[in-house]
Amino acid sequence: MPTSVGWVWLVVVLPFVGFLANGLISFLWPNSKRAVSAIGVGVLVAAFAVAVAVVLGLRGDAHGAPYVLTYWSWMPAAELEIAAALQVDQLSAVMLMVVTGVGALIHVFSVGYMRDDPGYPRYFAYLNLFVFFMLVLILGASFPVMFVGWEGVGLCSYLLIGFWYLDKANADAGKKAFIMNRIGDFGFLIAMFLIFQVTGSLTFVEVFEAAPEAFTINGGTITLITLALLLGCTGKSAQIPLHTWLPDAMAGPTPVSALIHAATMVTAGVYLVARANVLFAMAPISSVVVATVGAMTALFAATIALQQWDIKKVLAYSTVSQLGYMFLGVGVGAYAGGIFHLTTHAFFKALLFLGSGSVIFALHHAYHESGSHEDAQDMRNMGGLKRYMPWTATVMWIATLAIAGIPGFSGFFSKDGILAATFARGHDHPVFYFLWVLGAAAALLTAFYMTRLMLYTFHGPNRTGKNEQEHLHEAPWIMTGPLVVLALGSIFAGVLNLPHVLPGGGWLEHLLEPVTELSHRYLPEAHLSATTEWVLIGIATLIAAAGIMTAVIALKPESLKPAREAPEESGFQKILLRKWYVDEIYDALVVRPTVWISRKVLWRFFDAGVIDGALVNGSAWTARAVGFVGSAVQTGRLAWYLFVFVIGTLVLLRAVM
């Protein structure tokens, strides 16, 4: 094993040390922001540096077995033997780079974005804790260790969504995310139990090696396991039907949205499917379900993003939509393609969120100066910001071109890779052609709504307000710096996995081969001819261009009115604005019946009636009734007592003799 791979524990421990230190500071010296910044950002940069060393060490023997580093026995119980162990292989290396790299940039950005917040140390403590759990998630060598990270990031997500908890809406959003994730975790747990029952192990290496013998292809058990895992993934990665928490999660600070709800945590579901690729490849039905859920989510979320006014809501639905692409990718067996899109998405979506954070920061500042209470996140209050914030506008345009899929930018290659893989599977079953159409339609909408966001935010006349305009200015360098780095990533990350028709294509695919090779024998060979691939590339380019052009032609930022003067939406626009009423439907189908049952059955009948009435008061009544009879014997007359005493003595004597 290369020496540097042995340092991987340091990557995990560093953010945890940061959490402890910042947590301590938040109690003892809440105003010492300088120390917090140094620790919070420092541990992440250090972790990134160690991670680079680990990955470089791994590169030396890319085709070696995965390195499992066991530290101590965590749960020894009869046959169950779970070790606190980390696994370093090509897949976790890619994730390691994304999490620590993008994470470090977002930490730097946060120093500027959160500088005036009274909860500054607490914020960095949470953020460090999040990175720690995320690293446990991606480095864990078994399902339970991964689950610790899985739950931990959920906790941090909850804490950071409700970071400004004094506002009830934020606290509610945190709870919603937590509960939605709980539904998914139930699936994860069921899957773990089933896997242990069949294979007798929960360690990745052992399970995946045992899988070909332990399961029958397309059998009931494997399908059940993978569907249960998928339920876990839909919760964590905000896919239909558990997608509703992610847009609400925007209640948290914007860098949190960038780190947790765009770049890292929400991609955990994609990572899990890619990690368990053998299991999914052995269950073709589940894989089709994964792909269908992904494609439907991609299109569905994209339609909602068309009509949102809150800049972060647009990006939130865009994230849901892009996660759908990743699921489509891993669903059709393009595991490397899914991870590739995960990587490029981490760059351009983190950039978009941080850019929107920079805009919100500027608007918030301007409204604060003028004492106005307008919504600093509503795009109708923006417009023409490129004059005030040239850097932010430029980098966000780069990210927009990347996510829209303009050739040359990273998003184009990753998205095209997934769509091509979907199309290639069309030979097996026509349903994949249908999924490809869904994906292509979502790509069109993506290009449209992102251009809409850019036009309304940065172009046309400014609608912020006369008094506020003089206070609008570019964010400090500590915020724009990370944006520029991410912009470079958004442009160049595509070279990791170029299409096969280009020289040097499929690099990431080859890199991940050791992880995915077990699943190859179960997946049908899906190869596209060079011509087909070029045609698909052409179609993808046309779609992206069409989306952008339509938006530029159809949308008129000049005629947009500020939020307080804007007319009510009507018809289809209103349906989109209200997110297809999914929240309302869930409210009617799940929340209200639950509340009704809780109130009427569980509270009024069971708690008040059975527990309080029959059990608590009932036992008191019984004791009282018995006492009433008993007290009648206690007359207080000595003669009576003596009489009973003598009778008792006689009875006893009779019994003894």
Binding site: S631, Q634, T635, G636, R637, L638, A639, L642, F643, V646
Partner: protein
């Protein structure tokens, strides 16, 4: 022990007298209301027991004699304390009728 054989014929009579005395004592304690009489009935029971001890001691050895001495000593102490209590009750209630002494009755 030669004297033991002499008095065996008296044992049955002695136990019978003892039983009668004891029953009288119990009946008196249960039926009478005057505290002094109840007290005397208790003494009667004690002495009935004494008689049993003495009678059986003829056969079983001198332990019974020792017990009798103990019982007499305790009875003397009891008489002192008991009469004092009755006196105190009388001072408090102006009666020694046990039906009137019913503070314990709820």
């Amino acid at each position: 022990m030669p004297f033991l054989q002499q008095s065996t014929e008296l044992l049955g009579s002695a136990l019978a007298v003892s039983a009668i005395l004891f029953s009288l004592g119990v009946a008196g304690v249960l039926l009478r209301r005057n505290a002094i009489v109840v007290f005397m009935c208790i003494e009667l029971m004690l002495n009935a027991v004494n008689l049993t001890f003495i009678a059986l001691a003829q056969q079983l050895g001198r332990d019974g004699h020792v017990f009798v001495l103990f019982v007499m000593a305790v009875a003397a102490a009891e008489a002192a304390v008991g009469l004092a209590i009755i006196l105190a009750v009388y001072r408090h209630k102006q009666t020694v009728n046990l039906d009137k002494v019913n503070l314990l009755s709820g």
